[in-house]
């Protein structure tokens, strides 16, 4: 009975994910500024999200192991950490493809890229630790303690550190309309950083209600340099012109102007802004999150069973010997 239910469940997960795949390419609209390549987000974000769930499950079972000392808890903690590692790796790889299309490079040391890499290394070290200790009891105990410490870093690396960065190219704060990243305020002559772009405010010109700023932008190493002229309407308090960064899909916009102090707040708008404002995209995105979570549960159940059986077989072999 239970086996039948499991089979039906697997079949449903398969159909659900097939539906999500079709919907990703057929139902949701192309994103402004990214076109069809933005569809990667539908798998990229859920894989990262499931990694968070997986590491949380791993930490819970690690704590349970330290409390109850049952090998089955250790097996479940390991299975969840393994799933988390796979999903983190997938999130990194899909993010790199997204980065290549959106920013023109696979890897540009964006704060979020760095933190997910660090997380990947921390959890990879958990498996290195496990394989380095022969004594079973000691291995389980140390792995459980390490897993709890690793979990403490996870929220910081996934949620806090990327948001603490002064500015990031990662469009994490551009997905939901109204939650744009804060820009930077520059006075005439001053230099600042927007993402990995060096920006310098050369001057401000006012023509009636329209203010036009002259901003010199350059990439690290001065691979490209340009002078952009974003515009701002003082009457409507909104931008009039948003030029595109050279060689990229990002645009430069003025968000606020203080003429008395000779300063403007400028921001880099990432493609994908208002992504989830579209109802179709939102529903497919949610369905993808649910589907990936179900997939993780499937992976977790099977893997933890394998690890538990390994223990049983080892015990049986010892008994037989």
């Amino acid at each position: 009975m239970l086996q039948q239910l499991g089979s039906i469940g697997k079949l449903l997960v398969g159909i659900w994910m097939a539906g999500v795949t079709i919907a990703t390419f057929v139902i949701i609209p192309p994103y402004q500024g990214l076109g069809d390549a933005g569809r990667i987000v539908i798998v990229h974000v859920p894989t990262a999200w499931v990694a968070v769930i997986a590491f949380t499950v791993s930490a819970v079972y690690s704590a349970l192991y330290l409390r109850r000392r049952l090998p089955v808890d250790d097996a479940k903690a390991t299975a969840a950490a393994e799933g988390g590692l796979i999903f983190t790796l997938l999130a990194t790889l899909t993010g790199m493809v997204f980065s290549q299309i959106a920013w023109g490079v696979f890897w540009n040391w964006d704060p979020r890229q760095v933190t997910i890499l660090v997380l990947l290394l921390i959890y990879a070290a958990l498996f290195a630790l496990r394989s380095a200790i022969d004594d079973l009891e000691r291995r389980r105990r140390l792995a459980a303690v390490y897993s709890l410490f690793a979990f403490v870093t996870m929220p910081f690396l996934m949620f806090v550190a990327p948001r603490m960065a002064e500015s990031t190219l990662h469009p994490n704060c551009a997905f939901i309309k109204g939650s744009d990243c804060d820009g930077i305020t520059l006075q005439v002559g001053h230099v600042g950083l927007l993402g990995d772009q060096k920006v310098q405010l050369l001057g401000i010109e006012q023509q009636g209600d329209i203010v036009v700023a002259q901003v010199k932008v350059s990439t690290p190493g001065l691979a490209s340099e340009a002078i952009l002229q974003p515009g701002y309407d003082l009457a409507t308090r909104s931008y009039t012109d948003r030029p595109t960064f050279p060689g990229q899909r990002f645009t430069l916009a003025i968000e606020a102007v203080n003429l008395e102090r000779g300063e403007v707040r400028i921001n880099m708008e990432a493609p994908g802004s208002g992504l989830l404002a579209n109802q179709r995209t939102l529903w497919v995105f949610l369905a993808a999150n649910i589907g990936f979570t179900m997939l993780f549960v499937w992976m977790f159940l099977v893997r933890s069973q394998v690890l538990s059986l390994e223990v049983q077989i080892a015990q049986r072999k010892v008994a037989l010997a």
């Binding site: 089979s7 994910m17 057929v26 390549a37 997939l295 992976m299």
Partner: protein, 141 residues
């Protein structure tokens, strides 16, 4: 190949990479589980002495797996995924051949100037036109 067509192929390749990784993991772990279950089932109850040769044979070559349900599941999954990707590709290519990209983006409320395309292509065009319209509206807000 236009930039847009390349982008959709890259997206599909990325999605497939994710599926293949997860599927390979599940197949491998599932096979391991079945082998172990068979191994355990094959053992006699209680601490009966067995030769090492028998034990290793049992681990290395498990009996035929009793997992017809699992196999059906995988076949159904692969089938639906293959169908989904093929159908999406067919729709996209037929739409792109018929209608220029710029025109698709400009559509708002006009009648669909499609004739002789497959039903799937027409559905896709309708969905895409509505979606572009939605997108325009949300951007304007």
């Amino acid at each position: 190949m236009s930039e847009s067509t390349a982008a959709i192929y890259i997206s599909m390749a990325t999605v497939l990479l994710v599926w293949v990784t997860i599927a390979v993991y599940l197949v491998q772990v599932g096979a391991q589980l079945r082998a172990m279950q068979n191994d355990l089932k094959g053992d006699p109850p209680g601490p009966v002495q067995r030769s090492e040769e028998t034990t290793s044979q049992s681990t290395a070559a498990p009996e035929s797996p009793s997992v017809a349900a699992d196999q059906w599941t995988w076949m159904a999954w692969y089938g639906s995924l293959t169908y989904g990707c093929t159908a999406a590709l067919e729709m996209l290519s037929s739409v792109r051949e018929t209608i220029p990209e710029q025109q698709l983006d400009r559509w708002q409320n006009d009648a669909i100037p499609v004739s002789g395309e497959s039903r799937c292509a027409q559905q896709y065009v309708t969905a895409r036109r509505d979606a572009v319209h939605d997108n325009l509206q949300s951007t304007m807000v």
